[in-house]
Symmetry: C2
Subunit: 460 residues, 2 copies
């Protein structure tokens, strides 16, 4: 680590760079926002509560209701103009009491492998499911082998690509196995599917996530589970030695009727243009294996920090600012759909929305879904973020929940933190509070509130 001489040189350069340039009001306010987030921030304390006192909060669960009540209460404590719940019916899926799998390499010889049910999957028969396995990497390969599938378990084993620097890109290339694998395999007569966990590490934690049966009738649905990456490697090796091995899977998850839940909404009325609405949002629900600290506890507490930090610079938004904590992003997006439907009915004008749903990591920048003129304006603001190493300003998608608000005029933004570690945790028991670094989380909150401040101050 750099010592003595280099340190003095380094400090000298910093000193010089600081005295030469007078700060504008905007630069000064952004500096205060970052400083306050790092020194008087509440995001980390909130995340500790949400993760450790509430925990995983799958849509429709008791924990999700606790998270709704807690976040409503915390937003009320911030003294916003209005805090309210928006009712919405959400799916209720429960994991059940057991999840178990083994590979029977030869009669009587079994090796246990870590699995978990995919969200939305049906259970296996009570005594479990035992069948031969067919391994595929793509849907094309599945189609080629369609005559061999009947009565078997389809094992989707396409790994996320390690060479893609943006790990979300690797995820988007691999996620169709999980989303549609069961539906497609069932159409060819498979009795179950096992999907390689969507993470980039070789480890022993299975990663869950939503799956869909499309329009398959109830009678045609087959159980779907995720297998850890090490488990997937093992199963693949064993199959190369003995393609007639049996795989045993047992899980008793269940889909229950929809239940009532809520989006949590807090609002500061704009002092000049109250009918122009800006949103900062994240999703309050999470998967159930971890405590959802990165996905999306981080986004929730960063969103809650926005009004709190704006007060620290005594800034009253000209436009109406809404904090929207969406329910049910993970397995239905019912909260987002409901919010957009209600806003259409009320003829609301959403001029801007930003979503944080990519983990509580060091901020890299923003992905902007807008027309070219507005993108240009936002890109020009990158100069304000340079001191904080926030550099990524590109056109692209925004976020699952706010995307329903898209129109020709408005600007939707996805907050983009560093993505290298995200899939180590995502949807698994690894996604816990201790995997979040306080400073990284706080820098994210500061980046988000700074962009909102710029949008409101300069107008887009």
């Amino acid at each position: 680590m750099l010592q003595n001489k280099s340190i003095y040189l380094f400090t000298f350069f910093l000193f010089i760079s600081k005295i030469l340039l007078p700060q504008s009001e905007v630069e000064k306010n952004i500096q205060i926002l970052f400083k306050k987030s790092l020194t008087e921030g509440k995001s980390y304390e909130w995340l500790d509560h949400l993760s450790n006192k509430i925990g995983g909060r799958l849509s429709g669960s008791l924990n999700s209701q606790r998270a709704i009540e807690w976040s409503k209460n915390e937003l009320e404590n911030l003294g916003l103009d209005k805090v309210y719940l928006q009712p919405v019916m959400v799916p209720k899926w429960i994991r059940g009491t057991f999840e178990y799998a083994n590979i029977e390499t030869s009669p009587g010889n079994t090796i246990n492998v870590p699995v978990c049910a995919l969200g939305g999957s049906i259970s296996t028969p009570l005594g479990g499911l035992r069948a031969n396995v067919i391994e595929v990497k793509t849907f094309d390969e599945l189609f080629e082998k369609k005559n061999e599938i009947e009565g078997k378990i389809v094992f989707f084993n396409r790994a996320m690509r390690a060479d893609l620097v943006n790990t979300f890109e690797a995820y988007s290339e691999a996620v169709n196995q999980r989303l549609q694998g069961a539906e497609i395999a069932a159409r060819f007569g498979a009795v179950g599917v096992v999907v390689r966990s969507l993470n980039l590490k070789l480890d022993d934690q299975p990663h869950t996530g939503t799956m869909s049966y499309g329009n398959l009738p109830l009678s045609k649905r087959i159980p779907a589970a995720s297998i850890s990456t090490n488990g997937a490697e093992l199963l693949s090796s064993m199959l190369s030695l003995n393609k007639n091995l049996k795989f045993y899977l047992k899980q008793n998850c269940k889909n229950l009727p929809d239940v009532k839940s809520y989006n949590v909404i807090g609002e500061i009325k704009g002092i000049e243009f109250p009918n122009e609405i800006m949103i900062v949002g994240a999703h309050l629900d999470s998967w159930d294996l971890g405590d959802g600290a990165h996905d999306d506890g981080a986004g929730v507490v960063q969103s809650m920090e926005v009004p709190r930090l704006l007060k620290k610079i005594n800034y009253k938004p000209k436009r109406t600012l809404r904090i929207v904590l969406f329910i049910n992003e993970e397995n239905g997006q019912r909260g987002a759909i409901k919010y957009s439907q209600e806003s259409k009915i009320k003829n609301e004008n959403h001029v801007f929305a930003i979503e944080s749903d990519a983990g509580g990591f060091t901020p890299k920048g923003f992905s902007v879904d807008s027309n070219d003129d507005k993108f240009k304006i936002i890109s020009n603001w990158s100069k304000y973020f340079k001191p904080y190493f926030v550099h990524y300003f590109e056109k692209g998608g925004s976020g699952a929940d706010i995307s329903y608000l898209k129109n020709e005029e408005n600007v939707l933004v996805g907050f983009r933190p560093d993505s290298q570690r995200y899939f180590d945790y995502h949807h698994s028991e690894n996604d816990v509070f201790s995997s979040v670094n306080k400073r990284e989380l706080e820098l994210g909150a500061a980046s988000i509130v700074s962009l909102i401040y710029l949008v409101d101050y300069f107008k887009l």
Copy 2:
């Protein structure tokens, strides 16, 4: 996490951006360097060995000798033109067998606090040291209180500033307490110093690091220890309640005579300009509390990756490329001094050097110590790094070891990864292999080799 619709949009944009622009040879080679580092990299496996099979490797220790032999052997396996050891005498300090401290809040009532000896410190008397404490935050405050110091332990308790986004800046503002605290306190008659650990978290791990007695005679030297941040907070609270409390410190560390050690050097002879030397370097020694995975195991294995990755693109450097693994950066920089002395004697021409000594985190960019013209050339290469989110190209210091090679013509570069988590680990038992993320380490190696490739390809 973004789902369905957003993912498809996202993939679409990526697809479009990829087909529109034809790649230059340089762009293509850099892409391969990143790809190979992420998919066929050896840095993580090497770091596992260095951290877990060798471990902490303080200068002069048996482990440091093991690290020297191992890295020499690994460099030889890469088929370089030359691999050799450069002998140098290094200080040998040993931590001893015990380190212990408590706060005596009232006679007979004590609370243990976590401490560790600072590197280079003398031991306490065998039975320990028991004295009143005077707390200061700055040397100015120490001078003001100079009449109260006699016979006391000086407690330096200035925390690293959380509001500085670059954590190295916060470190550079706080490190003088550790480096010079004992020397200055001793001049005022203190009997020992306890220094708040240089990390940004409140936790229970003391962080060690080098300290100096300057030109104090042996008889005037006093023991110096680091106290964990939680311990520092506790001691400060207790002092506010009772400024007459006693602090008890016991440690039996020791300075031994200098011993022979080595820089490890590997070389590929330049095919066009063999007398122009480019260096990639890091330091092989580490502190002893953890296994030195971030400081500076990461830099060592990233440096070793450079010739390996250049072979993957069949690139033969025009200039001579040296991998220099310096010994004794942490407590003496004798390896760096020796290397620069030898190179002066041989009249060697070092045109470029890059050092990686800031942890194995996601690469942010480079700090460049050069004249303006050369800095401008390097800045213009930032376009090649954009796809990898490597964006930081600024003038500034380089690194402790290579800084001795500075002249008017050459270019010295410090590799700069994200700094948010570094001081959670730095110089403490937290600096272990499991705190390094494979992809982050590999992206760093790819960034470093890409810059070297550009330097050699375009000439600076």
